[in-house]
């Protein structure tokens, strides 16, 4: 059973539809007791980092998320909130992965980075099984995570940034697998397979 975190900044319908297409069981919840019972977490997110953090704090989800040992897949803003802080609203985030989110330099190219882009694998990981550098994924974001030792894959737009990140039980993807066609479905299936085999 997957628990999708319910909060203000979630693209909840997109993620739950994608899980429906994969015939996965899930709940959408902001209730800590319910979330304690699931096998893994999907932490979606679109919108503004500071507003999202406020909403998580008001539900005590920030502390719970940071301390959970369940596999967590953060998507887009969800992934970004794993980091320590963001230039967006100059806010503190969850602090699971070291680093600070930066804004793309809009004097160099259009911001947001919106559309289909490839990624470049840096380290092997079961979440990326079958996904290759030639594949395209759908991105929409104005802020990015710089590369670090936790980067599994990078994407190149204005500069190379972290497309996929991993630390302990936390996996984050900057793109939207739920909107990235067959390749995105494959990544979500990889996550489900990882959860089922653990």
């Amino acid at each position: 059973m997957i628990g999708i975190i319910k909060y203000q900044a979630g693209n909840l319908a997109s993620v739950s539809n994608a899980l429906d297409r994969l015939h996965a069981d899930y709940i959408v919840s902001d209730n800590l007791e319910e979330l304690e019972k699931v096998d893994a977490i999907i932490f979606p997110g679109v919108g503004h980092a500071a507003a999202a953090m406020d909403d998580l704090r008001s539900k005590d989800l920030d502390v719970w998320l940071k301390n959970t040992k369940k596999p967590v897949l953060g998507i887009c803003l969800g992934m970004q909130l794993f980091y320590e802080s963001s230039e967006e609203g100059d806010c503190k985030a969850l602090g699971i992965i070291p680093g600070r989110l930066k804004r793309f330099d809009s004097s160099k190219a259009k911001v947001p980075h919106m559309g289909w882009n490839k990624f470049e694998s840096v380290k092997k990981h079961p979440i990326l099984r079958g996904i290759e550098n030639k594949h395209f994924l759908y991105y929409v974001h104005g802020y990015y995570a710089p590369q670090s030792e936790h980067t599994l894959a990078t994407c190149d737009y204005i500069e190379k940034f972290t497309a996929v990140t991993n630390k302990d039980n936390f996996i984050g993807v900057q793109f939207h697998p739920e909107k990235s066609g067959q390749v995105g479905s494959l990544l979500l299936q990889n996550f489900l397979d990882m959860v089922n085999s653990s």
């Binding site: 900044a9 693209n11 319908a13 997109s14 539809n17 994608a18 429906d20 297409r21 679109v46 919108g47 503004h48 507003a51 803003l77 809009s106 259009k110 911001v111 947001p112 980075h113 919106m114 559309g115 289909w116 882009n117 490839k118 030639k134 594949h135 395209f136 759908y138 991105y139 929409v140 974001h141 104005g142 190149d156 737009y157 939207h176 739920e178 909107k179 990235s180 066609g181 067959q182 995105g184 479905s185």
Partner: protein
């Protein structure tokens, strides 16, 4: 490298697609979900659904349709047509749309852009601008209500303002070219892209593959939108993308 996007547009009336050829293999050419799935399989990068129904009951039908589309389509899609308030935007986004396009409503109340952008994120807010060349030929005026009402607004100034107010993308339709199949208004596209730092979707005038290439190579459009050339299968999305790639345009080729 970020690819340029190809976006088929589906006109929706009472929950059904308007016009369009009977695709081989489609049971029902009027079913937006089936057509959308077909476009997705053929390599569309995004889809736009424009509701042209003018009745009060339309919202319910539209929301139901958006839910149905979201369940079946695994690429991003935008919904537009008569959306007027934060509540209506929320309803459409919660039903599963990724973006809404706003047109007449933001001309009446430009702060709607900011309210919506703050609430749902700028990536979800598309400013749709219908622009018509002025008699002096070197500027364009914004029209609303399906192109029937002039506003007196300069299109380039207006687009810049929507960006400042929080729009994440511009859907720019040349009224002079719309429906003519004589090519995009490249001068308008170039001027818009020089002014703006958010993505611009070129719309109005697509008739040939070369027109679409020109929109990117000359107009510097981030995305190309078309309706009838895809509906009537005059151009296959896969052929269009193959040709664009030959011309050196970065596009997403699937089937790999």
């Amino acid at each position: 490298m970020l690819t340029r996007r190809i976006i088929p547009c589906l006109d929706i009336k009472n929950g059904r697609t308007v016009k369009g050829v009977n695709f081989v293999g489609l049971r029902d050419a009027g079913d937006p979900v089936e057509l959308a799935q077909r476009y997705t399989e053929e390599g569309a990068d995004e889809l736009v659904f424009l509701d042209i129904t003018a009745t009060k009951e339309k919202r319910k039908t539209l929301v139901k349709l958006v839910k149905d589309i979201a369940l079946h389509i695994n690429i991003p899609f935008t919904v537009g047509g008569g959306i007027k308030s934060v509540e209506e935007i929320e309803e459409i986004l919660k039903a599963g749309a990724d973006k809404v396009s706003l047109n007449s409503a933001i001309v009446r109340d430009s702060n709607l852009i900011t309210r919506a952008s703050d609430e749902f994120g700028f990536q979800a807010i598309v400013a749709a601008v219908d622009a018509k060349r002025r008699a002096n030929r070197h500027s364009w005026e914004v029209f609303v209500k399906g192109g029937s009402e002039p506003t007196g607004l300069d299109a380039l100034d207006w687009m810049e303002k929507t960006e400042q107010l929080g729009a994440g993308e511009i859907l720019l339709t040349s009224m002079d070219r719309d429906g003519t199949k004589s090519g995009f208004d490249l001068e308008l596209l170039k001027a818009a892209n020089n002014r703006l730092s958010i993505p611009v979707i070129a719309s109005g005038g697509a008739g040939t593959i070369q027109h679409c290439c020109d929109a990117v190579l000359i107009g510097n459009a981030d995305a190309v939108l078309a309706a009838s050339i895809f509906h009537f299968r005059e151009i296959e999305i896969s052929d269009l993308k193959a040709k664009m790639a030959e011309e050196g345009i970065s596009v997403r080729i699937i089937n790999n």
